[in-house]
Each structure stands twice: as structure tokens, then as C-alpha cells.
């Protein structure tokens, strides 16, 4: 199984433990990822706020490079990148004006985009291409007794995602269950984490984060599993401030890929788990027969 791979800026920075866990896990499943040559920032949400013409061009450059690279689907783990790339793809298709701008810009660099690239999220590809049964086989250390709150965040289920339900997504639930974890009912699974507002307008942004954490604790979860670098950072990094403002809501937040790694028997340090502010409490001792 081959995919071209768009990491996005975060996975090289704040979210590097996402990449650190994603790559070995994919390798372990026999999935071949080729990092997109000279990819650039997708523009995220901030760029749209300044100039959607340029924002489209920015994202389109990556699509064009991916198209050049070959027929493989483009896999991107970061929610923001997933949304922006998909959105740009749609807008280029739906709006001649945007398409014109994009093609002119690409042309200036002797690039072009015909619209053939499929943008995929790891969850989508794990469930629909790899398949849960294959993953099940690789599980050497089931996450027995680990209560996980599945947190999808906003941008992989809204509004362009096609692989899961926008209101009650279940792909990660099913995946975690396959790993042997106990998936707790978490009604906030698609609520917003506050995005960049946690830094810019903490009184508003951090409160959203607090609500997510508090509800996870209330539901008796040991850990929150997330799919997005920004969500992970928000849920992990601000516990001091949250504690000061609204009281404790201490719970670790990790990437679903990190949990996969653990279930596949990989050592925690290889999976970047050491980078957490709130460390995940160690799993119960592995079963003797393993």
C-alpha cells in the first residue's frame, strides 16, 4: 500500500510526536509513505483570513506537486491540513474564478493541477484500505482496561469529510476497540478545542479546552485520544492556566497513533510519549505469554 505523505508544519514542530508515532506504525502495517517533495504550509485557517486567493494558491501548490508525484492518494494526518487541502480541491472544482487564479499562479512556476488528487486522513485509510482485521493481527499488547475518550475535533469530520459521520463519527471508536481499549461514551467527540484562541483569547479558548477535559474526566476516561496536533497541544499544554482559572481537570491526551504503537508492542519513548506535559499513566503489565 503506497501513499504520498503531507506532514504539515505542526508535525515538524509542536506535533512532532504525532509523526514520531505515525511513521513506525504505518511501517509496521506495511504502508509505504513518501513525503511530498518540497511541500509548503497549507495555509491553515489563518491564511484564509488574509486572502483566500493566495490561500487557494498556497494549498494548490501541494496538490499540484502531489499530482506530479504519482497516482497515489495524498495522506495528511493534520486536521487543519486535511480540511484546507480538501476545501481548496472543492473550490477549484466549483468556482471557475478560483480555478483561474490558481492555474495562473501554478503556471508561473510551470506547475499545473488537473484535480485528480484524493486527500485522505490516516483514520479513513486505516479503516477502509488497511482494515481492522489486519490491524487486529498486529496487536500484541491489547490495551485491556484502558478507558479512552475518542476525541475527533472539528476539522476532519466537518464539512468536507466523507469517510465518517459529522455528528457522531465512529472510525476511531472502532479502531481503539480493535486495540483492546475500552471506549467511553464521549458526547463532545466533535466539539471545538478552541483552536488558536487558547493562545490569543485564553478566557474563551481555554474554557472550551477545560470543558473537553472535565467531561472526559467525568466520564471516567484514563486518557483522551486525538487526531489533531492543535487539539493535542491545547488539551495537553495548558493545565496550569486551566487549573488557575477553573480548577483541576487533569487527564493525559495522546495521539491515536501512539496508542496503536503501544498496542503493537512498541516502546513508549519511540512513540514520542515522553513529549507530553501530562504523561499517560503506564499500561498494566503486559500479559506474561507475550
Amino acid at each position: 500500500m503506497k501513499y504520498s505523505y503531507f506532514p504539515g508544519c505542526s508535525l515538524k514542530g509542536l506535533g512532532r510526536s504525532y509523526e514520531e508515532s505515525l511513521l513506525p506504525v504505518m511501517k509496521h502495517l506495511g504502508v509505504e509513505l513518501t513525503e511530498l517533495n518540497d511541500w509548503n504550509c497549507c495555509g491553515a485557517t489563518a491564511y484564509m483570513s488574509v486572502d483566500e486567493g493566495k490561500a487557494a494558491v498556497l494549498a494548490a501548490r501541494n496538490l499540484a506537486i502531489a499530482e506530479q508525484a504519482g497516482p497515489e492518494d495524498l495522506m495528511t494526518p493534520c486536521s487543519a491540513c486535511y480540511l484546507v487541502l480538501n476545501k481548496t480541491k472543492h473550490n477549484i472544482a466549483d468556482y471557475p474564478a478560483i480555478n483561474a487564479t490558481v492555474q495562473r499562479a501554478l503556471g508561473s512556476a510551470r506547475l499545473a493541477y488537473r484535480g485528480s488528487v484524493k486527500v485522505r486522513h490516516p483514520l479513513d485509510m486505516l479503516i477502509n484500505d488497511v482494515g481492522l482485521d489486519v490491524i487486529k493481527e498486529k496487536v500484541v499488547r491489547p490495551l485491556k482496561g484502558l478507558k479512552v475518550a475518542p476525541y475527533y475535533g472539528c476539522q476532519i469530520v466537518r464539512p468536507y469529510a466523507t469517510f465518517d459521520d459529522a455528528w457522531n463519527p465512529t472510525t476511531m471508536d472502532r479502531l481503539l476497540a480493535t486495540l483492546g481499549a475500552e471506549v467511553v461514551h464521549y458526547p463532545l467527540k466533535t466539539k471545538c478545542c478552541g483552536g488558536s484562541l487558547t493562545g490569543t483569547v485564553p478566557e474563551a479558548g481555554l474554557r472550551l479546552t477545560y470543558i473537553l477535559l472535565k467531561e472526559a474526566v467525568r466520564r471516567g476516561a484514563d486518557v483522551i485520544a486525538t487526531t489533531c496536533p492543535l487539539c493535542q497541544f491545547n488539551l495537553d499544554a495548558y493545565h496550569d492556566q486551566i487549573n488557575q482559572r477553573w480548577g483541576p481537570a487533569r487527564i493525559a491526551t495522546v495521539y491515536f497513533t501512539q496508542l496503536m504503537g503501544l498496542a503493537f508492542g512498541m516502546p513508549a519513548e519511540q512513540l514520542g510519549l515522553k513529549r507530553n506535559f501530562i504523561p499517560m499513566k503506564p499500561l498494566p503489565a503486559p500479559l506474561s505469554k507475550v
Partner: protein, 199 residues
């Protein structure tokens, strides 16, 4: 002692054509059929902090109250979670409308001063234009320097934490073909600058 203000609006307060212009932006045309049901505000996780609820912003745009909209905090509190867009019974892409409004606010320089989000947006924009990629910590630092020192000091413990967890990356990330990207962005400038023409 309470302050008394006149809140009446005169026709002169409207900027004729503003609504039309916004609804001309690709993705914003559905606003024509807004029925003011409030689903957007109801689903919005941040509407509780806004001076105008998203629904009110939609009404103001349709009614050409440009200054009121661009001066409000609302657009800057949108975290782009797209809940409103997926839930709207008229399939109005409210998040995209918020973007269109942010652009206009930034272009016209009328947004709440020292309110960090527009600054973040601009800093982000500049960094991408120069480097092609984002280095979050650098971005955050520049942001704090530009907006308020105390916030920067306030979050020193966060900074330490970043160092400890090895996520404090100060080496600027950048792409190889920076010139190429800059060229592309400039060639998009014409429309980009004035999205209304991109409609």
C-alpha cells in the same frame, strides 16, 4: 451611573452594496436565503463570547451594516470549527463568510486594535510568504512581542515546558523553492487582494 447611548440606525449608517459584495465571494452566495433561525449561534462554541451572534452578523451583512460588522469581535472569535456550516438548514457556509469578513477587516485596517488574532493572521501570512512553512514557536513569540509583553511573561512556564518536552523549535523551517512560492503568491495577488473580483 449608567451610560445612556442612542442605538438607532439611520440609512446613512448603511454601506450600500456591502452585503452584495460579500455574497459575491465564492462560497458565500447562500447567505441570500438566511432565515435568521439562529442554528449557527446555537451550535457555535464561541458565540457566548461574541458581541454580535453569528446570526446577527449574517443579518448585519445582508443589511449592509459594514462598519458594525467589521468592528465587532465576532469574526475574530471564530475558531473555524465549521459547526455552523454543517448545521445550517439553508447550507450557508458561515465559516467562509467569516473569512471573507476577516479579509475585509484586515484590508481596511478596521479591527479591534491590539486584539491579537488579526496580528496572528498577518504574522502567519508573512512567515509563510517568506519561509513557505510555519515554525509555531517563532510565530507565537513574534505574536506576543507584537501584542502584549505580559502575556509573553505569563506563559514563560509554558515555554520551559516546551523546552523540556523538546517541542521548542526555534530553527526556522523553510522550503527549498521559496522564490517560486513567493512568485506564485504575487501572481495571485491581483485577485487575492480583492476577493470581491474573484467572485
Amino acid at each position: 451611573m449608567m451610560r445612556i447611548e442612542r442605538t438607532i440606525k439611520y440609512e446613512g449608517d448603511r454601506v450600500r452594496g456591502f452585503g452584495k459584495e460579500v455574497m459575491g465571494v465564492p462560497g458565500c452566495e447562500q447567505l441570500w436565503s438566511c432565515i435568521q433561525c439562529g442554528t449557527c449561534s446555537g451550535t457555535c462554541p464561541l458565540s457566548i463570547y461574541m458581541d454580535f451572534s453569528p446570526r446577527q452578523v449574517m443579518a448585519l451583512v445582508r443589511a449592509d451594516f459594514k462598519n458594525e460588522v467589521l468592528r465587532s469581535h465576532t469574526v475574530w472569535l471564530c475558531a473555524s470549527c465549521y459547526a455552523c456550516t454543517t448545521e445550517c438548514p439553508r447550507q450557508i457556509r458561515i465559516t467562509d463568510i467569516m473569512y471573507a469578513l476577516k479579509q475585509r477587516a484586515i484590508q481596511e485596517g478596521i479591527y479591534p486594535r491590539r486584539f491579537p488574532i488579526p496580528v496572528l493572521a498577518k504574522e502567519f501570512y508573512e512567515m509563510v510568504r517568506r519561509q513557505g512553512r510555519i515554525t509555531e514557536m517563532l510565530l507565537v513569540i513574534r505574536l506576543f512581542l507584537k501584542t502584549d509583553w505580559f502575556a509573553a511573561l505569563g506563559s514563560w512556564r509554558l515555554g520551559i515546558g516546551m523546552m523540556r518536552t523538546g517541542r521548542f523549535e526555534l530553527r526556522p523551517e523553510h522550503i527549498e523553492r521559496r522564490a517560486e512560492l513567493a512568485g506564485m503568491l504575487d501572481s495571485a495577488g491581483a485577485e487575492g487582494g480583492k476577493p470581491k473580483e474573484a467572485a
